[in-house]
């Protein structure tokens, strides 16, 4: 075993939490003297906790050292890519639509189109399920699937959910619902839509046809040192990236050119 010791506190995105937990487990096996505690609330909590000094690593679904819609950049923080996360627009099984264009998605999520028949489906009101503001999934989906267009914020057939799990349950159980989530959460009880005729698959992400994906980042205050550095190196290592990370259905960063 290694002589490395210390304490690592990780906070931030809940979508990256499974990855963090798995990596922590493996890392601790090799470095038993290192204590790792992880929690998750929302992506923005990650860099904020790092800035406050209450976390060593802030997990976040976008590059928080740059400005993104709704969030300013965090000065003095370094972003480390740890995974590639594909996102998919999903609908309830009963919806007869398989494919939507970017324009149609924008219209649906901004509330302009209210009925499935307007986009080629049967005559039924569209139920839009959205993630709450601040979700990394939402930021990515907005930037990459909607080209930055705004979401609606009110409506009789509009609701927001708190987590990927809630999104999954809502889309599965609500007829005529549409939502979006990390590709890994898509189950057989819902339908992932093609966007502009491209299916959301790992292959399409890697070959560049499917655009709706983003990197997951670890933010640190300046360059990391000690145990934190070792942990980030471990998570970026080939062993982890091609092993557990793949098994968790994320895409290794090395796969992207």
């Amino acid at each position: 075993a290694s002589k490395l010791s210390g304490k690592i506190v990780i906070n931030g995105s809940s979508a990256l939490l499974p990855l963090t937990l798995q990596a922590a487990k493996e890392f601790k096996k090799a470095n038993p003297k290192v204590k790792i505690s992880a929690s998750a609330a929302g992506s923005i909590t990650g860099p904020q906790s790092v800035r406050k000094g209450i976390a060593d690593i802030g997990a976040v679904d976008w590059d928080a050292s740059q400005d993104v819609p709704g969030f300013k950049k965090f000065e003095g923080q370094v972003a480390h890519k740890v995974a590639v996360i594909p996102f998919a627009a999903v609908v309830n099984k009963g919806v007869g639509v398989d494919n939507l264009t970017t324009k149609q998605l924008q219209d649906i999520f901004s509330g302009k189109v209210k009925n499935w028949k307007e986009v080629g489906g049967s005559d039924a009101s569209i139920v839009v399920v959205n993630r709450a503001f601040g979700s990394g999934t939402r930021v990515n989906f907005q930037m990459k699937a909607l080209d930055g267009a705004d979401f609606m914020s009110k409506g009789d057939n509009y609701k927001e959910v708190k987590s990927s799990g809630d999104m999954k349950t809502a889309v599965e159980t609500t007829p005529n619902a549409i939502g979006y989530m990390d590709l890994v959460y898509v189950t057989s009880k819902m339908k992932a839509l093609k966007i502009n005729d491209v299916a959301p698959t790992e292959a399409n992400v890697i070959n560049g046809k499917y655009k709706v994906w983003g990197y997951g980042y670890y933010m640190t205050k300046g360059q990391p040192t000690g145990a934190t550095k070792a942990f980030i190196e471990y998570i970026q290592s080939k062993t982890f990236q091609n092993g557990s990370l793949k098994k968790l259905k994320f895409i290794p960063i090395s796969a992207m050119k």
């Binding site: 937990l21 204590k35 992880a38 998750a40 708190k162 799990g165 959460y185």
Partner: protein, 297 residues
Amino acid sequence: MSAGIQKSPFVSSRKSGNRLKNNLFTGLVWTVGICTIIFIVGLLFLILEKGMPKLSLDFLLGLPDEIMEGGGIGPALFNSFYVLIISLVISIPLGMAAGIYLAEFAPDNKFIGFLRVCVEGLASVPSIIFGLFGIVLFVEAFDIGLTIIGGAVSLAFLNLPVLTRVTEEAIRAVPQEMKHASFALGGTHLQTIRRVLIPVALNGIITGICLVAGRAFGESAVIILTAGVTTSGVMWDFNLLSPGETLAVHLWYVQSEAIVPDAVEIAEKSAAVLVFIVLLINLLFRIPLWLNARKMR
């Protein structure tokens, strides 16, 4: 035989009115009661039915897994008990002492009345705010990170108001004569409280503790913020500074973010275990009451 009262004078002449209402009322109460029983049994069945049969010791004591099926809940389950016990050890004496103060020592003035309302108000503060308070206290001020002790203390704070008020009410409900009898025998206030007021009020206090313990066991928001969503990854870790994911948090995590293929099953099993344990806790706290009742035969 009496001439004043005719034959069978007690068969009501107003057959309809009162009797009917009474029967309707009795019927209604029974209906609501039975519906409640059916509802609770149904709910328990719903929760236990899916999870209970699949339970195994491996699951109860095993370590969780992020990738493979068959992960366990061992450390989380252990933490649940650990956190619950610590939080109760903190909140029961504190809450009871504060309740006793309000019931026995506090002067009867406006300020104390105001305080009482405040304590009730505090019971309505959402748990997430106690979580934020915990962060300010333990993560920021004491800088100990996400720990079992931080979670347990925050949880204790969450439960304090309810315990305080329940204790106060229970002690107030003890008849004055009991208190006077003890004082007249030369008992000090402390002796009277310890030997008469608390034993007589025990029923109410235990109700309060059961309500509070159940809530603490099922609480997630506070723990997520103050004790984290990880465990130290080993069984039987008594270190108070270890991260302290509890079973309820694990359930939340599995339900909302986990990627493991058997997430649904783990959630079902965890829920079953939680409910089952809360039942056990309830029974455990009632043992003193039963013993008490038995002694009185």
